[in-house]
């Protein structure tokens, strides 16, 4: 594989050796650790609910930080300036932890008590509705697949930008490495690999920041360039609207409905395991995002042009242009791939788990024993990786715009999970109405805001807003209204169901 990489690369091959060595080390570490696994379904799908605070923090953070956080944030700051941090990062520091605390811990408790493995199992049980499960299945899978594509396409564009390796080859290597360790070790292997990869990409991010600022003449000079050449990027005026800023806060609510995050929550040893994650998550976001945002505005100040007008290629260009040392370039490339793979692994495992439990096992009853379930899970993971890889060969032109739409889709389902854990009066009909309305409003706005302009060959420059607000505002308002109105108009859930999921007080 390394030889193939070398043949394909017209630039220095040293960075590829560094990346190859990193991938081999990661693979060795993950496979070695996964040998300890006991091979049961509980171990493969939820790590026997035994993950401690440090691993939970690293796996949750590594999973939420994807190509969008590194490549997308730099590109977005290049276009819109420093306001991107307040828009996406500091808000997430408050809201992600809020969701972990108020929703994540409760879902962990319910999952442990009733031995749930997937989000759909929980919703089926809570609302006593098979239909809701079948409705959620295509919605959740349909929203995760574009999210996976973002990672594979992002990895390809970064490696191509730095070393010239074709994107199809990078995608193949990344998918192959991730597949190798999750097939053997399941969600525990994903958590362990995420811990390593999160440490790597955070250290490498700090290194990139230091080296890039140094190559631009130091921190002060790098910012001075922006003051002289692109001063508008140092503030939000003219770049981000007030209502857009305020309503963007709804987007991070998406973490409450990410199925891969739900699965990581279930791996926690105890509720106390969440403490480190809740506290450290905002700081970790800051460590990753502040350097990326500064690199983005510095690139604009230094007169860097986005290759082909694609601002998402700015990070790769800055690393490639500013860092002449191929060893360092290789290290940075490995760091960026680490961030991307730490999301891909959890998402692949999660989709395999959903197919196994929510479709096959749900429809066939207890026909499959534990070992057969693990085999089924592995089969589905391979199939999903293959399908996603094939889709990544024909990426949509606005793949990073797709990210915010995916997050908005998950966020529009957030009222459902809140009602499921806090509102006893929420009914199955209300839940179904909420999912249908969320899906319907998402589809209409997605068509109008991204699909139609893309099909017409228009390049999306501006954010798609409704009366100055993010479209997610409309989606959440509509799905919440549907949930409340239909629940109140229909028969309340039985006392037995309420008693199962809510404490007597």
């Amino acid at each position: 594989m390394i030889a193939a990489l070398l043949q394909a690369a017209p630039k220095s091959t040293t960075p590829l050796y560094v990346v190859g060595a990193y991938l081999l080390l990661l693979l060795g570490f993950s496979i070695l650790n996964s040998r300890r696994a006991r091979g049961s379904a509980g171990e493969y799908f939820v790590a026997s609910r035994s993950i401690g605070p440090f691993l939970l923090l690293m796996s949750v953070f590594g999973t939420t930080m994807t190509a969008f956080a590194l490549v997308g944030s730099t590109g977005k700051a290049f276009d819109s300036g420093i306001g991107v941090y307040g828009l996406m990062a500091s808000a997430s520091g408050i809201i992600h932890s809020l969701v972990f605390f108020l929703v994540g811990i409760r879902l962990w408790a319910i999952g442990k008590r009733f031995n749930y493995v997937t989000q759909i199992q929980f919703f089926r049980g809570r609302f006593q509705s098979n239909l809701l499960g079948y409705l959620l299945f295509p919605v959740l899978v349909g929203l995760v697949i574009p999210y996976l594509l973002i990672g594979i396409v992002g990895a390809g564009s970064v490696v191509k930008g730095i070393s010239g390796v074709p994107t199809w080859l990078t995608g193949l290597v990344v998918c192959g490495v991730v597949l190798s360790y999750i097939l053997t070790g399941g969600v525990r292997a994903a958590a362990l690999a995420n811990a390593v990869q999160t440490i790597v990409f955070m250290l490498v991010g700090v290194l990139a920041f230091t080296l890039i600022s140094g190559s631009l003449g130091g921190l002060e000079q790098a910012t001075k360039n922006v003051q002289e050449n692109a001063p508008q990027l140092l503030a939000r005026e003219g770049e981000i609207g007030h209502l857009q800023f305020l309503t963007y806060c709804f987007v991070p609510l998406s973490v409450g409905m990410f199925p891969h995050l739900f699965q990581h929550w279930l791996t926690a040893r105890s509720a106390k395991t969440f403490r480190t994650t809740v506290i450290a998550h905002p700081i970790f976001i800051m460590i990753v995002w502040v350097p990326c945002v500064l690199i983005g505005v510095w690139a604009a100040g230094a007169g860097v042009e986005a290759p082909g007008g694609n601002s998402n290629a700015v990070l790769a260009k800055m690393v490639g242009m500013q860092l002449k040392n191929p060893w360092v370039s290789g290290l940075l490339m490995a760091g960026i791939l680490a961030a991307i793979m730490s999301s891909l692994d959890s998402q692949f495992v999660c989709l395999g788990t959903i197919f196994t439990h929510d479709i096959v096992v749900h429809m066939t009853g207890e026909r499959f024993n534990e070992a057969q379930r693990v085999t089924l899970g592995r089969f589905f993971i391979v199939a999903i990786v293959a399908v996603t890889y094939l889709l990544s060969l024909f990426p949509p032109p606005n793949v990073f715009d797709l990210a915010v739409w995916c997050f908005s889709g998950f966020a529009s389902l957030f009222p459902l999970v809140v009602a499921a854990v806090y509102w006893r009066r929420a009914t199955a009909a209300g839940a179904i109405a909420s999912v249908l309305v969320a899906g319907g409003t998402w589809a209409v706005l997605f068509y109008d805001g991204l699909l139609a302009p893309t099909l017409a060959g228009e390049r999306i420059g501006e954010d798609y807003l409704i009366a100055g607000m993010m479209p997610v505002t409309v989606m959440i308002a509509a799905s919440t209204a549907a949930l409340i109105i239909v629940s109140l108009l229909t028969q309340p859930p039985s006392a037995a169901t309420v008693g199962r999921f809510f404490d007597e007080d």
Binding site: Y85, S90, I94, I105, A109, A235, F245, P282, I283, V290
Partner: protein, 80 residues
């Protein structure tokens, strides 16, 4: 799965709410000034919001931890 909040817990949640309000720093909207020689003031303020969020969440975890949830999770599911 509910519990009463102590005064420390109320204070901790109040700090989270305050940070959520301060996050909308309209007074920095058009301020292009730079502090420490390189840091745009709007970015520094938002980075401090992140630091504040970690502190606020530490206080929530300390003063408003939902101990009852863990007890509920450990109870056998068939006791109801």
């Amino acid at each position: 799965m509910t519990q009463k909040l102590s005064s420390g817990g109320k204070l901790a949640w109040g700090l989270v709410a305050l940070l959520a309000v301060l996050h909308y720093d309209f007074w920095n909207w058009s301020d292009r000034s730079v502090v420490l020689g390189f840091m745009p003031v709007g970015l520094l303020f938002q980075a401090l919001i992140s630091v504040g969020a970690a502190v606020a969440w530490a206080l929530v975890v300390h003063f408003a931890w939902p101990t009852h949830i863990e007890e509920w999770a450990e109870r056998p599911a068939d006791d109801e």
